[in-house]
Symmetry: C2
Subunit: 481 residues, 2 copies
């Protein structure tokens, strides 16, 4: 690991630094342009001097920056400026920075690097970090890097990459300090003093036996507050929370939150320590999950670089639009079944989107609530009946309340009490449909072993749209014609 | 702080424990019911014995549980069972558990406790924890608790409660270890050994002068790996990241993630240390923020206890339905402007929801992307022009692509090339409207100092619905009649 620079910390100051760099870049590009354009020699010396000064200042600024701050600057710059800055960054920082930036920006940076630079950047990383980067690297770079690893590191890399993205195995690192239980704290203290640095975020040391079997954990706290003569085994925590690499990362994240952990050992089926998972990694995971969810809600496949080309954006967004187009088309065909009725009572056309829309809103509320309860582990698939009963109750009240209000409005606007009654009944029935689907869809998907959250909003909206149109226009055809 | 119990950790095992407790509770209630009903004395002794055994087993189970695990059990039980279990929990754990459960469940638990129990529970907490609980406690309990605090604790409580919920001040605690810079590490080590325990999640010690002014931080790591003869000043980090209590919590959270912090000092305007903020608190904040956002997206005012009454659910959800009803009603009035046209070409009624719907989908994609970029600090309000240009480009491509496809479908279905052309143009125009609003709404709100995320989805959907109907039906009226 390269030596850490001082972080800027304050976000206003970070913005200020960004502006200064933008300013320097603008000057830099201006001078470059002038030199190329004029093609005269008279001013060359002076220009050159300004140019050098300017560049030096940029270099100096970037050299002093924490890699996370450089990453922030790179994210906020348009492609051309971004690559200019990237060129000026000290190459020892390259690896760290590649880890910090978003996937979309990482791609643009990697594209601009040659094989040699990429290998150098990759080699500066720990194996668990490398595992995150490898999928984005060109094949020949990966091979070069692999050659440069020790056999233990290769094994770690292979292990880290063998676990699916949403498991503890993909989040764990291999840096840890282990001690035996039969030594005194004094010995541990002396042992630690031989380190140049401890693994990042070490808050506990793992106590193992000669076969690497986990015996307990020794917190730095108990190491520090207890008499150095005490034996490790007398102050270690025997049944500390541990994880298996196959455990779902989301579950580990919940355990970290529940028990306020800062780090925990990862063990194999024989309780042998194979790695460690830290809260800092868990936080990244939580943030990424919540971002992925936000994006998935509106069908964005991935984080978009705000400077991405129009074409990249179109590709990122098309699938969702296509799905919604299909569901909208189906709803449209449902309406066209009743064109005869609409021709006779044109008010139906104006009122039908209300029935469909409110059904969608209410259904999305129900499904969000249920999906969250499932994620918190509070709902098993056998809770269906109780939840359904409650949601149907809510839907009935809302139907009578809001449906009644709209019925009165329809009656008043179109002077037809029958139309008002159809409106109220259709609203109530569509809300009941929304409640049933809002409970049913996620529980069914849970029982079938799927992710209850994925695409559930699109599904329920499709159902309440087509369903709403069908119910309202159907009732109108039955009772008003 | 009460002594920590062993956490269960594994979520399957937690589910298992929940089932066992449900089973024991069912037996418990059965025996109670029998005893009441039968009113006979013959079996009393036997029943009593079973009852006692049953209750003892429940008590034993709960006593061994980590407070976070008890909180999980309480959340997952319906009200009656929840209060039964709550009665059996050892009172020393009450305070911790009240902090762990969700707001909705906390309310049900507090309602079931008398003044004396509440005061006892509150008194078991640290002042920063107490600050989180106070808003939910009855006034007279707060007064009793306040009486029992030392004057320093009262000051801390007042300070913690004086900061708005989304600031660093509201997240900080007052537990920390401070040392002077001119002592040797040996002295610090001896000093720490006098503690019974360190503040939770201590990864660094704050180095202050005699006026409490922050001089630097000493990580436990450097305390452990360096020669004990070294002076603190030689190994401390001088310009570590620090926060002010007025700083926005979201910004602090981003800094914690950017710089991989585990804890950081909170200082006042004179750089005097007044508290500490830890990653564990930050994680809770991040999770709460992301949950609040998920709920706000579908207009749920707060987390719903899944066992809440129908009536509570209706209250939690009504405001959003009301707003959506208003926007749907407006869209309905827009349609009714064109009733004459629909009467003549009834196909318009079937096609118009497609135009409105796809506009809403596309607008929500744009707005989500922009809101996220703003939250990451990557967009300033002056970026409007560039972003607008790009989004308009995306909209144009999608309009020609998807609008063209639908135009052809409309042509084919209704055998009218003019209708197809109107469909394509209306789709394109509504997508352009969605793009403009998707960029404009959040940037305008940012410039006006509001939260760009709040309610933006409702706004853009309202606009693309009414706008889409108006554009499509307007074009149809102009060109088809």
């Amino acid at each position: 690991m390269s030596e850490e620079k001082n972080p800027i910390g304050d976000s206003d100051e970070l913005q200020g630094q960004l502006q200064e760099i933008e300013h320097l870049l603008a000057r830099h590009k201006l001078v470059e342009a002038l030199t190329h354009q004029q093609n005269v020699h008279r001013q060359e010396l002076l220009d050159d001097l300004i140019h050098k000064q300017n560049q030096n200042e940029l270099h100096r600024k970037l050299d002093r920056m924490h890699s996370a701050d450089v990453a922030y600057i790179l994210e906020a710059l348009p492609l051309e400026d971004r690559l200019l800055v990237w060129d000026m960054v000290r190459s020892e920082q390259d690896g760290e920075i590649l880890l910090e930036v978003s996937d979309a920006v990482r791609e643009t940076l990697i594209d601009s690097m040659d094989r040699h630079e990429l290998v150098a950047a990759a080699e500066s990383l720990d194996t668990d970090e490398l595992a995150d980067l490898v999928p984005d690297l060109p094949q020949e770079v990966v091979e070069d890097v692999f050659q440069s690893l020790t056999s233990e590191e290769r094994e770690q890399l292979r292990a880290a990459m063998s676990y699916p993205e949403d498991t503890v195995g993909a989040l764990m690192d291999f840096d840890m300090v282990t001690v035996r239980e039969d030594v005194a704290l004094e010995v541990v203290l002396r042992y630690l003093r031989r380190f140049d640095e401890l693994p990042e975020h070490t808050d506990k040391i793992f106590v193992i036996d000669r076969n690497s079997i986990l015996q307990g954990v020794l917190t730095l706290e108990s190491l520090l507050i207890n008499d150095p003569e005490t034996d490790v085994r007398d102050v270690m925590i025997k049944d500390a929370v541990r994880f298996r690499p196959e455990d779902r990362a989301e579950e580990a994240a919940q355990a970290f939150e529940r028990y306020d952990l800062n780090s925990a050992p990862v063990v194999d089926e024989n309780n042998r320590v194979i790695g460690r998972i830290t809260l800092v990694t868990v936080v990244d995971f939580i943030r990424e999950e919540s971002e992925a969810e936000q994006l998935a809600n509106v069908g964005l496949r991935e984080e978009e670089d705000i400077f991405a080309s129009v074409w990249n954006s179109v590709r990122n967004r098309w699938a969702w639009l296509a799905i919604n187009l299909v569901t909208a088309f189906v709803a449209s065909r449902v309406i066209s079944l009743f064109e005869g009725s609409i021709e006779k009572i044109v008010a139906l056309a104006a009122l039908m989107p209300i029935v469909a829309g409110i059904g969608g809103n209410s259904g999305n509320q129900t499904i969000t609530m249920i999906v969250r309860a499932i994620a918190m582990g509070q709902v098993k698939s056998d809770a269906a009946r109780r939840l359904l009963k409650k949601e149907l109750g809510v839907a009935l009240i809302n139907g009578v309340l809001w449906g009644g209000l709209l019925g009165i409005l329809a009656w008043w606007l179109y002077d037809s009490i029958q139309l008002g009654l159809v409106m109220t009944s259709a609203m109530t029935m569509n809300l009941l449909l929304a409640a049933t689907a809002g409970v049913g869809i996620p529980l069914l998907r849970l029982r079938l072993g799927g992710d209850p959250a994925l695409g559930s909003s699109v599904m329920i909206t499709a159902l309440t749209d087509s369903g709403g149109f069908f119910i309202f226009l159907g009732l109108a055809t039955l009772f008003l014609l």
